[in-house]
């Protein structure tokens, strides 16, 4: 056990070092853009839902109308997203199964329509561009892609750390219990709707941070971007393909899907619409039909098999 722990930490250290060194080695702006997107989507994937839009809007309004730095706006956006998640959570988490799924999708659509409807509130359907200040780290604007890379890497590290802490806390065990059998969990005193609501609030906060970063990175905001269904789809896809409810699943899923999409784009050019999501859908179907636990499930299986193979040999040496 101690040995595997040592190896895990070593692998983690190598991974962190490699991620930190990457911009120094890769000087190609296009390649760095792909890496930034990979990190961003694994971050959203860690905490996926539609809350990114609230964070993005809050920080942008604060920046443009009150000239408040997105670094502060980001936190405020997170708080707004948490507050916005309260009524949705109250409404949806009392429901179960198909009702929950349909309710969540319908609520998300309704919220986007309401944003599109109130044109006076936050620039309406046309959206707005973020003023380009050149190099201004205090306003989250940088000259080099490498700086953006480090910001989103930092966000991902925060997201992973929070998810890791939750996974190892009593909340994590409650979540596993609810996931296994909600009725049984409630019977032994787990307040399932409350736990789900709290997790939803935390994930809303994290997603809002990602929303702020995304707007600063592309210099533009409108409801279609902020509440983009494709971002939600992509964020959901990376979680499913990587393995839902696992810490590293979204990261692995993003690396696979973003790499596939970059390769497809370089092979076929961007002229053929639909090809990217067609391939995503096929990957997704293959995963669901043959590996429902996602790529992380495959990794865990391999690790377990190796651990089982090692056991008998260890026993022999002891004897």
């Amino acid at each position: 056990m101690a040995e595997t722990n040592k190896w895990t930490w070593l692998a983690l250290a190598v991974l962190v070092a490699a991620l930190l060194m990457l911009p120094q080695v890769v000087k190609n702006a296009f390649a760095l853009d792909i890496f930034i997107r990979i990190l961003l989507f694994s971050f959203i994937g860690v905490a996926w839902n539609l809350m990114g839009g609230y964070g993005a809007y809050t920080s942008t309004i604060m920046q443009i109308d009150f000239n408040i730095s997105p670094w502060i706006g980001m936190i405020a956006g997170g708080v707004v997203a948490m507050l916005a998640s309260l009524p949705i959570g109250w409404l949806c988490f009392r429901l179960r199964g198909p009702y929950f799924t349909i309710a969540t999708i319908a609520t998300a659509q309704a919220l986007m329509l309401i944003f599109l409807k109130f044109r006076d509130l936050a620039w309406g359907a046309e959206g707005t561009t973020i003023p380009n200040l050149g190099s201004s780290p205090l306003m989250m604007q940088f000259e080099t892609k490498a700086s953006y890379y480090y910001v989103v890497l930092g966000l991902l590290a925060i997201g992973l750390a929070i998810t890791y802490r939750i996974e190892k806390s009593w909340m994590g065990y409650y979540l596993v219990a609810i996931g296994e059998d909600e009725d049984a969990a409630e019977a032994i005193g787990v307040n399932a709707p409350r736990i789900k609501r709290d997790i939803y609030m935390i994930s809303a906060f994290l997603t809002a941070l990602a929303g702020t970063f995304y707007v600063q990175y592309i210099y533009f905001i409108d409801p279609a971007t902020a509440f983009n269904f494709n971002i939600s789809i992509e964020a959901a896809l990376v979680s499913i393909v990587g393995g839902i409810g696992t810490l590293w699943g979204p990261v692995i899923g993003t690396v696979l899907l973003e790499t596939t999409s970059a390769l497809l784009q370089s092979w076929l050019g961007s002229t053929t619409g639909g090809i990217q999501l067609t391939v995503y859908a096929l990957i997704l179907m293959a995963i669901i039909l043959w590996r429902p636990t996602g790529l992380m499930g495959m990794v865990n299986e391999v690790l377990q098999r190796r651990a089982q193979q090692r056991k008998p040999t260890q026993a022999r040496t002891v004897l």
Binding site: L91, C92, R94, L95, G97, P98, Y99, T101, I102, A103, I105, A106, T107, Q109, A110, L113, I114, L116, K117, I233, I240, I244, T272, G273, G274, I275, Q276, L277, T278, Y280, A281, L282, L284, M285, I288, L289, P292
Partner: protein, 289 residues
């Protein structure tokens, strides 16, 4: 004023008939197979493209193409149930949700690839015809679509209540295990239910074509409506879905008329959110009526 209200209600009822075909399909699949089919709208889209190509290349009237789109989609549905859905049926509903979601994503983007994003229309001799009663105006194509939609819904109700196959479907919906013990083959019943639901979606596509454009994302409009309707009308309840669809058509139409052109959907979603907040089991109650 009264005339405007009557006109809005009639418009709503006519489009509500199409919503009914889609949502009856969703509710039938949910009632019998116990999964939510997120790809239902994409099958409406396929029905529309089948109708469009039959009209453009062979000059077949959209109403006659019902006899092609419905059987084709019935077979497609039975095959999808047999080869895909059957493999993920189990206590955990996540794989089912993701599978139908992936199916929707696949069909959507595949048609974007094959048919392009262009809007396709079919112009029949009755596309521009309308009946005038006083100041009220009833488009013929929409009236035909409504009448056929109601007839098909009625036919499904008769199938469910008078035939052995229909009774087997309702039995499997009520208790799968007991139905199996009574000698009902659930796989066969599920395949028929899935096929029938997709045939209804295909019919909706054919009926829409004389007055609505086909494009790859067209199904999304109808599937959202269908989801709201099946929740309002209680999941698994065929009559509930029919009534709720007509109600939603009217609510949407009144919203467009009196709140604003882009407010139709907001009114409908407000109805859904209120239902979920105060009576989450829907207005229908019970199941498989």
């Amino acid at each position: 004023m009264l005339e405007t209200v009557v006109q809005a209600v009639i418009n709503g009822l006519l489009i509500g008939g199409i919503y009914a075909l889609v949502s009856i399909g969703v509710t039938l699949i949910f009632g019998v197979v116990k999964i939510v089919n997120f790809a239902q709208g994409e099958f409406v889209m396929l029905g529309m493209y089948i109708t469009f190509f039959l009209f453009t290349y062979f000059g077949i009237d959209p109403l006659l193409s019902l006899f092609v789109s419905m059987p084709v989609l019935f077979v497609a549905g039975a095959l999808i149930q047999h080869f895909l859905i059957r493999r993920v049926l189990g206590p955990n509903d996540m794989p089912q949700i993701f599978l139908t979601f992936a199916l929707s994503l696949l069909l959507l983007n595949l048609s974007l690839l094959l048919f392009t994003a262009n809007y396709r229309t079919v112009h029949t001799f009755y596309s521009d015809e309308a009946i005038h009663i006083g100041g009220i105006y009833i488009p013929v194509a929409k009236l035909i679509a409504f009448v056929v939609a109601m007839a098909l819904s009625g036919a499904l109700w008769v199938l469910l209540h008078t035939t052995d196959l229909g009774k087997a479907m309702r039995a499997a919906a009520q208790n799968r295990d007991v139905a199996t013990l009574m000698g009902i083959n659930p796989n066969r019943v599920f395949a028929v239910a899935f096929g029938a639901a997709l045939a209804l979606a295909g019919a909706a596509g054919s009926l829409l074509m004389p007055f609505y454009s086909a494009y790859p994302f067209v199904g999304q409009v109808f599937v959202l409506m269908a989801f709201v309707a099946v929740v309002l009308g209680t999941l698994g309840n065929v009559v509930g879905a029919l009534v709720a669809s007509l109600m939603m058509g009217v609510a949407e139409s009144l919203g467009i008329q009196f709140v604003g052109a882009d407010s139709g959907l907001i009114v409908v979603f407000a109805m859904l959110l209120l239902t979920l907040a105060f009576k989450p089991t829907g207005l229908g109650g019970g199941r498989m009526r």
